[in-house]
């Protein structure tokens, strides 16, 4: 391939496209969409300030408690607010459908509440317009529109024969046009890059965020490269321009609507998940079998009490050197948490099985690949949400057990009730328990869990290049 011919063909494609008014209309519309999506992203991200504020208020409220019985503090509880990842301005992912605040208290794993979707109209189910979504769904349509006739129109009107007799090879024509189309798609893509970088620069973020952004931007670039090549491949393989356009629209529908929806439906059918009620019911049913840790005379805990009395060589819990009800609740918390964690893990595993089909399908559908990777790196996917749930539950458990330990250590042995202002612990203890802070999964672990998506994008790039080379050898100008 001669570089000058390649660039000449690419430049001619550009010039030809820019002589048409349609390109300016498309660019204008894209910029309006970008503006809207960026604005949505920023206002979406602004919610973080409220969440930080609420988290601080919850903490102040926790610390403002007077001297109290620790078990009352365990039930006073606190809130964990899920902060949005800085990159969620770019891709909203499943954020709108997942809750963002959870009340943390002893013995009880509350659900994460207050999702955007629960306070919005059903329109949100069509998806909010994020920058990522425009790049994933709308930009391919624009590329298809700009490039569907790139080769086939020249064949239809005989210009291709002139191109080839003027000395250009098929490879130069195909790659030249692909380069021109990819260049055009980059022109549409660049404002998104600038907007995202500019919005991120408004606050200072860690290297992790910038590394994530770099991978995201590279993935979208490859995605557009694939879309551009695919457009040229369909154009060269079609008999008429109309045919090429219909094929490309069909491919778009298949990749963006049919395959993702079907894979989700099949996943849900193959791996059904319990309703919220069934899930809670199953946990409670199991927890009940292990008795009531609040009741010092609960038959289930009798064997524990008897063994503790035996070890300490005493007859009654009042003679123990520590507060036994606190100890019993410590054991009870451990048991109920293990049950919850197991059930929750099973539920998440079921969701993961459902999603697994979609993840594997990314190998045949680059849209699924880039979508999965984008959501994961923007911290708006199911796994990130699961990591929040995991960390919130771990914090809740630590909090409950820390209060139980305070009760064991500081409340007299014969005290079985937490009522009143006599059997209390100094309020300074509340401050010594650390506040909840959510740590996002590292970029390494995120990339590890999205390996299939990464492979998909790289594989599709290679496959598309292979198909281009195939057509360069086998295409006909007639």
């Amino acid at each position: 391939m001669r570089r000058d011919v390649l660039l000449l063909v690419a430049r001619q494609f550009w010039t030809s496209v820019f002589k048409s008014k349609a390109i300016y209309l498309l660019l204008g519309l894209t910029l309006i969409l970008l503006f809207y999506a960026a604005f949505s992203g920023v206002s979406y991200h602004e919610q973080n300030h409220h969440r930080i504020e609420h988290q601080q208020q919850a903490r102040e409220s926790w610390e403002a408690n007077p001297d109290k019985h620790p078990h009352r503090m365990a039930h006073f509880g606190t809130f964990a607010f899920r902060l949005k990842h800085p990159l969620s301005i770019f891709d909203f992912g499943v954020e709108s459908f997942t809750g963002n605040a959870v009340f943390l208290e002893a013995h009880k794993q509350n659900v994460v509440n207050f999702s955007e979707a629960s306070y919005s109209t059903s329109l949100i189910r069509f998806g909010e317009l994020s920058m990522g979504m425009i790049l994933q769904l709308i930009l391919p349509l624009i590329v298809f529109f700009l490039g569907y006739a790139a080769i086939v129109a020249d064949r239809e009107n005989g210009t291709l024969k002139i191109l080839l007799t003027q000395g250009a090879t098929w490879k130069e024509v195909l790659y030249g046009r692909a380069l021109g189309l990819f260049g055009l798609s980059c022109l549409f893509y660049l404002p998104f890059v600038f907007a995202t970088v500019a919005l991120l620069l408004m606050e200072s973020y860690t290297a992790d965020v910038w590394i994530r952004l770099l991978v995201i931007l590279a993935s979208y670039l490859l995605y557009l490269f694939i879309v551009s090549l695919l457009t040229i491949i369909i154009s060269v393989g079609s008999k008429t321009s109309k045919n090429a356009l219909v094929k490309l629209l069909g491919i778009w529908l298949l990749l963006v609507v049919v395959i993702p929806r079907t894979s989700q439906a099949v996943g849900s059918f193959l791996y059904p998940t319990p309703t919220k009620l069934e899930f809670r019911g199953a946990i409670e049913e199991e927890v009940i079998q292990f008795g009531d840790s609040h009741n010092a005379n609960d038959p289930y805990y009798n064997f524990i009490r008897d063994s503790v009395l035996e070890v300490h060589g005493v007859q009654s819990i009042n003679e123990l050197p520590f507060n036994y009800p606190g100890f019993q609740m410590y054991v009870g918390e451990k048991i109920s948490t293990e049950i919850y964690v197991r059930h929750h893990k099973e539920l998440l595993d079921q969701y993961r099985r459902q999603n697994q089909l979609t993840k594997w399908l990314a190998l045949v559908n680059p849209y699924l690949g880039v979508k999965g990777l984008s959501m994961a790196l923007c911290g708006t996917d199911l796994e990130t949400y699961a990591s929040f749930q995991h960390q919130a539950e771990a914090y809740r458990y630590e909090l409950a057990q820390a209060m139980n330990e305070l009760q064991i250590k500081h409340i007299r042995a014969n005290v079985t009730s937490s009522e009143g202002k006599v059997n209390v612990v100094d309020r300074e203890e509340w401050k010594s328990f650390p506040d909840f802070t959510y740590e996002y999964p590292t970029v390494e672990s995120t990339l590890g869990s999205e390996l299939l998506a990464l492979i998909s994008i790289l594989l599709w790039s290679v496959v598309a290049l292979g198909m281009m080379n195939y057509w360069a050898r086998n295409a006909s100008a007639l």
Partner: protein, 231 residues
């Protein structure tokens, strides 16, 4: 300059060109007449290297087209029935692009001269090609061939759809090209124009060259009679 040696092309079981033998010398205009589907365009495509022959050889400048595609492409040019090119670009921009593609680096004023030489008036050089008539587009096609300094020009039904004045202009341009040493191979339905512009005329039917003669030996009405008899 141009030679077909036992040239044959089959599409599956169907014969498109059968055992074609012909020569077109330097500065000669050869017009090939025939019905739709007679094999005229297939013959041109074989010479352009866009189709591989089933048997035989197509030679351009003494070189086998199949084995020397790059070299033969350098000395030939092609003008289709309708020169569409890129409607969004002007005639001058189209010419610039196609001449660069052929490896020619020609200054803008030189390109304008070529367009003038091909018969396109200067006021149209910078207008969008989409506003051109068919005849004006043909002239851009000729300018492309001129810019490439092609020795052999293949034309496929170049005068179909042209009005008499435009046809006459086109005929004169072809004659002038031939005078300057270009060999022209023209597939056409236009018997009168073929006899007028061609040095030799051939009739093709079902892939076979069934008649070939110098135009000085036959006039247009005789040719028409012969054509109607033979097909």
């Amino acid at each position: 300059m141009l030679e077909a040696v036992n040239l044959s092309k089959k599409y599956g079981q169907k014969d498109a060109v059968v055992d074609l033998n012909l020569k077109v010398e330097k500065g000669e205009v050869f017009c090939l007449l025939g019905q739709n589907g007679a094999g005229k365009t297939t013959t041109i495509n074989l010479f352009l290297g866009l189709l591989d022959p089933t048997s035989g050889k197509a030679l351009v400048g003494g070189l086998d087209v199949v084995e020397n595609k790059v070299s033969t492409n350098q000395i030939l040019a092609y003008i289709p029935e309708v020169v569409q090119l890129y409607g969004n670009l002007s005639g001058l921009e189209n010419l610039e692009f196609f001449s660069k593609l052929a490896g020619q680096k020609i200054a803008s004023d030189e390109l304008s001269k070529l367009l003038l030489e091909a018969g396109l008036q200067e006021e149209h050089h910078k207008s969008k090609l989409s506003s051109y008539s068919k005849g004006m587009r043909q002239k851009v096609g000729i300018a492309i061939a001129l810019s490439k300094q092609a020795q052999v020009i293949f034309m496929d039904e170049p005068t179909s759809g042209l009005d008499p004045k435009a046809t006459d202009e086109f005929t004169n341009i072809c004659k002038s090209l031939a005078k300057n040493g270009k060999s022209i191979f023209m597939a056409t339905h236009d018997i009168f124009n073929a006899v007028n512009v061609g040095d030799r005329v051939g009739i093709m039917n079902e892939g076979r060259l069934i008649y070939s003669s110098h135009t000085e030996n036959i006039d247009a009405s005789e040719m028409q009679e012969l054509y109607l008899k033979t097909i």
